[in-house]
Symmetry: D2
Amino acid sequence: MSTFGSLFRVTTYGESHCASVGAIIDGCPPGLELSAADVQVQLSRRRPGQSNLTTPRDEKDLVHIQSGIEHGVTLGTPIGLLVKNEDQRPKDYSETDLYPRPSHADYTYLTKYGIKASSGGGRSSARETIGRVAAGAIAERYLKQVYGIEIVAFVSSVGKIHLPAHVAPPSVAPNGDQDSDEAEDAVTPEFRRLLTTITREEVDKHPTRCPHLETAERMTQRIIRAKEANDSIGGTVTCVIRNVPAGLGEPVFDKFEAKLAHAMLSIPATKAFEVGSGFKGTEVPGSKHNDPFVLKDGKLGTSTNWSGGIQGGITNGEDIYFRIGFKSPATISQPQHTAQYDGTPGTLAARGRHDPCVVPRAVPIVEAMAAIVVMDQLLIQNARKTAASLLPPITTLPPTMVMPSKEKEASE
Amino acid sequence: MSTFGSLFRVTTYGESHCASVGAIIDGCPPGLELSAADVQVQLSRRRPGQSNLTTPRDEKDLVHIQSGIEHGVTLGTPIGLLVKNEDQRPKDYSETDLYPRPSHADYTYLTKYGIKASSGGGRSSARETIGRVAAGAIAERYLKQVYGIEIVAFVSSVGKIHLPAHVAPPSVAPNGDQDSDEAEDAVTPEFRRLLTTITREEVDKHPTRCPHLETAERMTQRIIRAKEANDSIGGTVTCVIRNVPAGLGEPVFDKFEAKLAHAMLSIPATKAFEVGSGFKGTEVPGSKHNDPFVLKDGKLGTSTNWSGGIQGGITNGEDIYFRIGFKSPATISQPQHTAQYDGTPGTLAARGRHDPCVVPRAVPIVEAMAAIVVMDQLLIQNARKTAASLLPPITTLPPTMVMPSKEKEASE
Amino acid sequence: MSTFGSLFRVTTYGESHCASVGAIIDGCPPGLELSAADVQVQLSRRRPGQSNLTTPRDEKDLVHIQSGIEHGVTLGTPIGLLVKNEDQRPKDYSETDLYPRPSHADYTYLTKYGIKASSGGGRSSARETIGRVAAGAIAERYLKQVYGIEIVAFVSSVGKIHLPAHVAPPSVAPNGDQDSDEAEDAVTPEFRRLLTTITREEVDKHPTRCPHLETAERMTQRIIRAKEANDSIGGTVTCVIRNVPAGLGEPVFDKFEAKLAHAMLSIPATKAFEVGSGFKGTEVPGSKHNDPFVLKDGKLGTSTNWSGGIQGGITNGEDIYFRIGFKSPATISQPQHTAQYDGTPGTLAARGRHDPCVVPRAVPIVEAMAAIVVMDQLLIQNARKTAASLLPPITTLPPTMVMPSKEKEASE
Amino acid sequence: MSTFGSLFRVTTYGESHCASVGAIIDGCPPGLELSAADVQVQLSRRRPGQSNLTTPRDEKDLVHIQSGIEHGVTLGTPIGLLVKNEDQRPKDYSETDLYPRPSHADYTYLTKYGIKASSGGGRSSARETIGRVAAGAIAERYLKQVYGIEIVAFVSSVGKIHLPAHVAPPSVAPNGDQDSDEAEDAVTPEFRRLLTTITREEVDKHPTRCPHLETAERMTQRIIRAKEANDSIGGTVTCVIRNVPAGLGEPVFDKFEAKLAHAMLSIPATKAFEVGSGFKGTEVPGSKHNDPFVLKDGKLGTSTNWSGGIQGGITNGEDIYFRIGFKSPATISQPQHTAQYDGTPGTLAARGRHDPCVVPRAVPIVEAMAAIVVMDQLLIQNARKTAASLLPPITTLPPTMVMPSKEKEASE
């Protein structure tokens, strides 16, 4: 269904050629200062036409807030918002419509519903993500103000062009000696430093949204090459969430990483997700992979962070980081040999403008879904923690079951 | 929370040292022949003590069905079931309890709840997965009988020991010429053949549950090496779901792959998930990555399957396959330098028996979660499809919006 | 939260003075012919200014459909819609704002959220029901077309003016001989006839929406009397749902009547709900209250219908009928002795225009919520029934567990 | 489905003749002292065989807690529990099985599932309520300890035998002068006093659980008369919840009274629900029905309480009270003229032992469902309130939107 989240909840509507796309965001804490401009910032980072790397279609994507805010302050009631579609006409019929576009949703939507929007991707259109980005911007504003939570995503690869291995090691080690015990560093010090310090300003310095400028330039060339070849190319986005309080995530089915994975794989064109050391971590022995505890600023932390800030499905206060793989866009401007709906083989003629690579524009969408997950889990944990805090302390429990007193002080 | 699924729904309870672990499975179709033995098969594949590669603790894990079945047939009402814990005593206090175990859930559970089970991993114990495996076995029985759906998972890597690249290419290409346009084959013909034909019998031929015997032997050595070094090692599990009808998956937040990712990342020790071409697919240009349509057995199918059986979040009838990364178990039998709850640095002494590598036992858990996702999505799509089928056909729609008549016949 | 339903789901937004009120309706079956006019009909029955019995404020309440429909046919995707608020200015501050209005939501909203909309009832405004009425109109269109389901609500009492006892007995018997065994007829033949035949056209013949014209006239006088006294008066609405298939309703927590009660008590100003024989039925011995089975049109039905079409929480195919009590509106145009927010006693001066009695306008809201409940339960039962129908029949069950063969034919 | 609640959630399983009935209670705050005995108290008040007014079948209904508690303290993890069924044999086939029992769930279950439990009511058996009562006992323990919340239900009528009108006025006024403006007192001072002071000890003084002893005696006679006539009789249960904090209840669909109604109408045999002044309140003009605010113990309260402690769907801190109607049990020991499943008319012979009147045993079930609703809503409001409390106060809002400063002090 079109709803995500339990206590902080976003519901979206809209296809690419209807009157508008929009969302209802329910569960925003009351008393938060919030304006349309706060939401617009991320919508503008998402919209097409930002550079020559994205689709030339320039849409304004201005958000219209309908409810839930008065005098610039949230009421705690649902925030309705919408962005008008510039071009609302259902598309004309054409020869190409005999063909389900390969690796698009045409065929599956038609199979699922028995009917499909006359044009574009219908609900699978990237315009659907507008509601998510708006919801994420609202969540983020709260998280930033109250917890200082920072969420920064950036492009870590385009095609085969990855951040240098010492900066951000790729998911799986090069094919070295398989029998060697020597573990590759899934998390290099430089990568951890990058995660700790990266800002959106730095990310936005380059249109690719890759923070390593030399790599960014190579990515640009790769994207332009795809564009000129009437082709497309995929990539990965890495995201870090800093300053998340320990204790978020619901055992056992709604572990923090499970909700994150759900959220990220719901973004169009995603094919892969890894958190912390990810696939590469599977190759590292436990003795090296385990994150030892240390005292940091008077609180228990870990000296390494292979776990990616989550242990047993629950956040531990360290940086949460994860990577998402986006496939190459299915829309390409070259003829494709495929079949019509009725099975007749043929060639689907080239189609119009499109993004040769979606990862730069995916950055704010990833940030938005991350913010929604954090906000929802935070509210759920609030409920429990407040309830527990009102109970009298129990003094008869064995010491294995409660926080040892010294740590208690340490953790507060 | 401890509930997963909307129309087919499993709720679990139980820690490692309480009276029993169990589950309530709600939404099973009525009229399905089902016995405890059907459930036991998968529980026995999951239980410890199956070989010298797993923990020596031998538990019987006999399932006791409490409700929902009479005369060997499901009533459609909730199926309650439980497996008794052999050792129910809360653990004694010991020196080691001063330490949160590195990369375990001790610290995060304590932070979350302010209290934790006196021993073992509490809810993060692998015993919690018993309820999932039971629920999955029930779902599977229905899916097999009615749709011929087959779900087979197998071990595709242990540490750095992967299936040979021509059999199952690893997630990311070797670091070749990054600027080359030459795409690696994320999905080799041999891999696709493996996915199409692999059976549980073949998987179970070797205790590692890797179907490539030569690789399986090398994995065994790797696991034994970890064991002898009082260490642990991770790995990956690949799973294929065959014969899933087209049309499953709910746009936009509950895309089929999003639910799969959620389900898989809720399994203990998982760190990564990829579906279809996965991370490697991000490096392949769209012109190669797109799956062309072809007529197969009178129905529209695709000649390649980089998509992994899912397009636009909806199944397309092709094989669904995905890979999950499991980290090295956090429990190791060697001393670890870490800190106590109160921050005092020290050495956590070695602990007792454990699995040096979890992936062989993870196989039935992965299959179970996959079955639960398919079953739930199938029921949801049933609801819609039945509702739509009762409406009169609409003849006035433009041809772009409906299945062209020839294909209609073709797809039926 | 602002979402109702699981497979057919409505989410609403909007206060009385924001830009618009609206809803997202998710889960509508694809392929249903639907236009804005279909929705407008019920919105217009709900809007104020229909007669001198309602608030003189005349709003057009024109619905703008944003998505989910193309060429007049539903796509199966979310239907976004909105109705603009004519007067969007947050209200000016006035003397009266020192007072929480008695029996309004001012005080409780402020306590809940710590902030409240500057004016009107915020989310507790009757304008919030616009989204419900729209969703109900959509559900109804499907239910009517496919099942011939008819939902008709009417006013059964205003203050003490009830439909005559032989037409529709009030909820509880007059205080007769308490020890007598003589049971009052909770369901008279004339009442049952009324339920079976009443149409919306008949209901709308009189502005009170009471189908018994003589009583309607007395109700009119009662409402005018309240209006002239600057006072208000409550009433009851009775609703019947005809032609609902047997088998809807989810044991055990989501019994059909439980969902109905939930839906009805979520309508502003409701205080009471009864289904079938209701409170009066509690006084009738089982031997009389039980509904004997009889063969009707070749199907099993019941000769009486004290059950109100629901047995064991599941519909049995008979007419479903229920009654809802609406309190007298809290807004009255006379001074009230009460206290300010700070506890200072004082007199709250009279306020402006309002409905002296809400029940006539509540009629379409009741119908809408009923339609949403039926639609949602129908989809859920579709899922199960379709799944069960694909299983082979089981021949080894004892005859007590399956439909006896003769009835089987009878029920099909 | 068999799950109720969102953050405090109970899931139940079990039919009357399976191995056990049980429940999983998820979301209980961690750190609560809780033993099986705490749960047993309410189970024992629910079980049959307590007096000659109930079914002679004497079952022990001993609860076995499986998980979620160690050393007598809740862990915050799911609490699994079960009660064994004494008689687990599926019933033998008999002549009477040709008949669906009138007003039972036999026919509707069979229609819904296509199969039904071989005997008894299956899931519609009263034994299903065991899980609810256990969950309620756990919720109550928390609510009592932290908030001093008291939940007391009692029998307010059996058949036509009601509490005297001056003690507890029946739902609807006697048929007096319909045109008179004179309002009956829906809430007499004596009734309000009763609600304020009634305890479970007083309720349990008489086996009918009616606290007015003279009426209780007449009720006893009525029940015995029904029993001797091989008949049954219904009744009503009134319940009060005291000391609930203001601010609970979720606009707009999950209003506090809507969730209460849902919960209560999910109890077997219920037909009606009213909160506060209920149906009778519909006859009282607004000028009388409105509850004026007054300062009470330094907090804003109301001098009357027609609202029943809920305004705009949100609790206001006053006593919450409501009434539920239970129909006469469908199982009676006299022959009934009805039809067989195949439509053949005939006489269903008398059946065995049963409760001639369920209301005395319904009392703890009503209390349990009330506790679950309060607990769930409390946790949800905790989440919001804690989130809002962490935001800085906003000083620029117009005074109409925030709590006036004097009241702020008053309300704290």
